[in-house]
């Protein structure tokens, strides 16, 4: 029997026809719409896309493998600053620089996280916390790399001769990388690695007895997640053509954690929905609070507090996040329409 999609034992990238059509339509729609957006909306869209990419990585670790990292923003920073440096000071072309940024972020991650992977998940949570604090401090101290509190400018070179100086064109590049990231994510989840992740999350001792190398599985999960963070950070830097350390502070790491919790732990659609939520809700909150209160200073803590509240509420009542809500909605809709979809 061949191993093409007609083989009943072949597990497809996306399980249902509706998902496949939906995904393709979404990507095409976003690609087309992005060309006609004004600067402000395009920035929002780019933020959502990049956060979705970072979120996918974090979700592999938190949602699928059941570990916590509160350092995701710091690793994005490692990626952003490394790629900026590589491109500007070392002359590396953009694509390899982005890949290297991911690799460097993964290596830095291992330095902080490796020993805790042998222990209970709690230890990685604390090690990641230490990583966030130490890395942010290191960013502050390394003016030559990061520009300290003032930030640094980032070149956006051409790729393979194609100039990407137009934001709309660069967005398509970001979208492409994110789609590749999504495909890799789905591949990992439908393979042996994905099963190992779930086994480690559900019952690590039984998994170990069944032959799953729990330590190595956690290492792969953590390495992949930091790689995604590095790449997302690099894209972020190239997009803004400027990076400042404040973008990679503890607060952002917590927002990324909120992203995966609210969007839906362990699912790709969760990462995308969560990213949209994380980027758009603050905008909405800002508008609302500006209507209610005239003090601009009041906005920040309200935004922060609402995030915390949402994290707690979702973890208690809807741990599968918006993705579950969305799926229920779609299934209801499909049921009404009488469509099969599979």
């Amino acid at each position: 029997m061949g191993i093409n999609s007609n083989n009943p034992y072949y597990r497809p990238l996306l399980a249902t026809r509706y998902e496949r059509i939906g995904a393709i339509c979404l990507v095409l729609a976003v690609a087309v719409i992005s060309q006609f957006l004004n600067d402000y909306h395009l920035t929002l869209l780019t933020q959502i896309t990049i956060f979705a990419l970072a979120g996918m990585g974090l979700n592999l670790l938190v949602g699928n493998t059941g570990l916590i990292s509160i350092a995701h923003a710091a690793f994005m920073g490692v990626g952003a600053f490394s790629s900026a440096y590589l491109v500007q000071n070392v002359g590396v072309p953009m694509l390899p620089a982005i890949l290297l940024a991911g690799l460097i972020a993964a290596i830095v991650g291992m330095v902080f996280g490796l020993p805790s992977l042998r222990l209970k998940g709690v230890y990685l949570a604390m090690a990641s916390f230490a990583a966030q604090i130490i890395l942010y401090w290191a960013f502050e101290q390394s003016r030559w790399l990061t520009g300290g509190q003032d930030g640094r400018f980032v070149d956006r070179p051409a790729i393979l001769g194609l100039s990407l100086l137009e934001s709309t064109h660069f967005y398509l590049f970001v979208l492409a990388i994110t789609v590749i990231g999504a495909v890799v994510n789905l591949n990992v989840l439908r393979s042996r690695m994905g099963r190992s992740f779930a086994a480690v999350r559900d019952r690590p001792m039984a998994a170990e007895i069944m032959g799953v190398n729990v330590f190595r599985t956690k290492m792969v999960a953590f390495g992949l997640s930091t790689f995604y963070a590095g790449v997302a950070g690099a894209l972020f830097g190239f997009y803004l053509e400027f990076v400042a350390i404040q973008a990679f502070a503890l607060v952002v790491s917590i927002q990324l954690l909120a992203l995966v919790i609210i969007g839906g732990l362990g699912t790709l659609s969760g990462s995308v929905l969560g990213a949209a939520f994380i980027v758009l809700i603050p905008e909405l909150l800002d508008d609302i609070t500006r209507m209610i209160s005239t003090h601009a200073g009041d906005v920040a803590p309200i935004r922060l507090g609402v995030f915390g509240l949402i994290i707690v509420v979702f973890l208690i009542y809807e741990p599968n996040g918006l993705a579950r809500t969305w799926r229920r909605l779609v299934e209801w809709g499909l049921g009404r329409l009488g469509a099969g979809g599979k």
């Binding site: 916390f129 502050e140 101290q141 309200i302 507090g305 973890l315 208690i316």
Partner: protein
């Protein structure tokens, strides 16, 4: 030499506060397997509530202090009742993320109500120093140390000699065994959180005295993490000892290392380097038990 002693004594005193807060963290971990990421924010809120009580009611310090400890108890009970109890069946990682969320909420409340800037705490202790013979130490510091030792002694006695203390230790040792003997888990967890919150509140008031009242106080609580890793996440003795070690290290880091290397702000970060180093060299800490912590 005086500089060295000054750093040392200061380190021990601040470290003793860390020890106390670390104790609270270890307590919750031992009883519930959860690392409370909101421990720092509990410390912060303790300080703010105490000051607010003094300001609003004009009480003198000691009654206000007691009132704020009551508030901390209420907060802990609210957290247990409305959040933790709903998550009894949830995986430990989810509960830890909930504590992160709770910490964020507490911090937002503080910044929203009191603003993000430093407020001087009420002047409780006179500014005069106490002469210890080889150095002069501010009264504030001495009182902090005395109070910390007092509270830790109190809790030590509680765990050793009261029945509830014994029940808590049993639950910490094995949740399943305790459950099967009929120990009311929710009560034990609530108690662990209450004690932890109260300890943090005390720590917050003391730290606010020393450092002033700002939302950054929550980072004092966070600095406790290296202490518990160093001491062993499941070790009460470890928490006590390593809190002091971290306090001393932090002072030396801020003092000597700054002069040696010219790097600023190394003090607060040094304990985290220690955390990472400990995880590489001896992950279960000085006093922790090896088997329990591996998956």
């Amino acid at each position: 030499m005086e500089y060295f002693l000054g750093l040392l004594v200061n380190g021990i005193i601040v470290g003793s506060i860390y020890s106390m807060v670390a104790l609270g963290l270890v307590l919750i971990y031992k009883a519930t397997e959860v690392v409370n990421f909101a421990q720092g924010e509990l410390l912060m809120i303790g300080g703010y509530i105490c000051l607010e009580t003094i300001v609003q009611t004009g009480m003198s310090f000691i009654p206000a202090f007691i009132v704020s400890m009551v508030f901390m108890t209420v907060i802990a009970l609210v957290i247990e009742r409305f959040v933790l109890r709903k998550m009894m069946e949830a995986p430990v990682m989810s509960v830890i993320m909930v504590t992160i969320g709770i910490g964020v909420i507490l911090r937002a409340v503080v910044i929203g109500v009191w603003g993000a800037f430093s407020i001087p705490f009420a002047d409780i202790f006179s500014r005069d120093g106490i002469d210890l013979g080889f150095i002069v130490v501010g009264q504030v510091y001495v009182w902090s140390f005395v109070l910390t030792v007092f509270f830790m002694g109190l809790f030590g006695l509680f765990f050793k000699y009261t029945r509830i203390g014994l029940v808590m230790r049993a639950t910490a040792s094995s949740r399943k065994a305790a459950e099967s003997v009929g120990v009311p888990l929710t009560r034990v967890f609530a108690l662990a959180w209450v004690i932890s919150a109260v300890i943090s509140g005390v720590g917050g008031v003391l730290t606010a005295n020393i450092a002033g009242l700002t939302p950054e106080l929550s980072f004092y609580g966070i600095k406790v993490f290296p202490a518990v890793i160093l001491g062993g996440l499941d070790s009460i003795v470890g928490a006590t000892v390593s809190g002091v070690i971290i306090g001393v290290l932090e002072n030396f880091g801020g003092g000597y290392l700054k002069e040696l290397t010219g790097i600023k702000g190394l003090g607060p970060v040094a304990p985290f380097f220690v955390l990472v180093a400990i995880l590489w060299v001896r992950p279960t800490g000085l006093f922790g038990k090896k088997e329990i912590e591996r998956v």
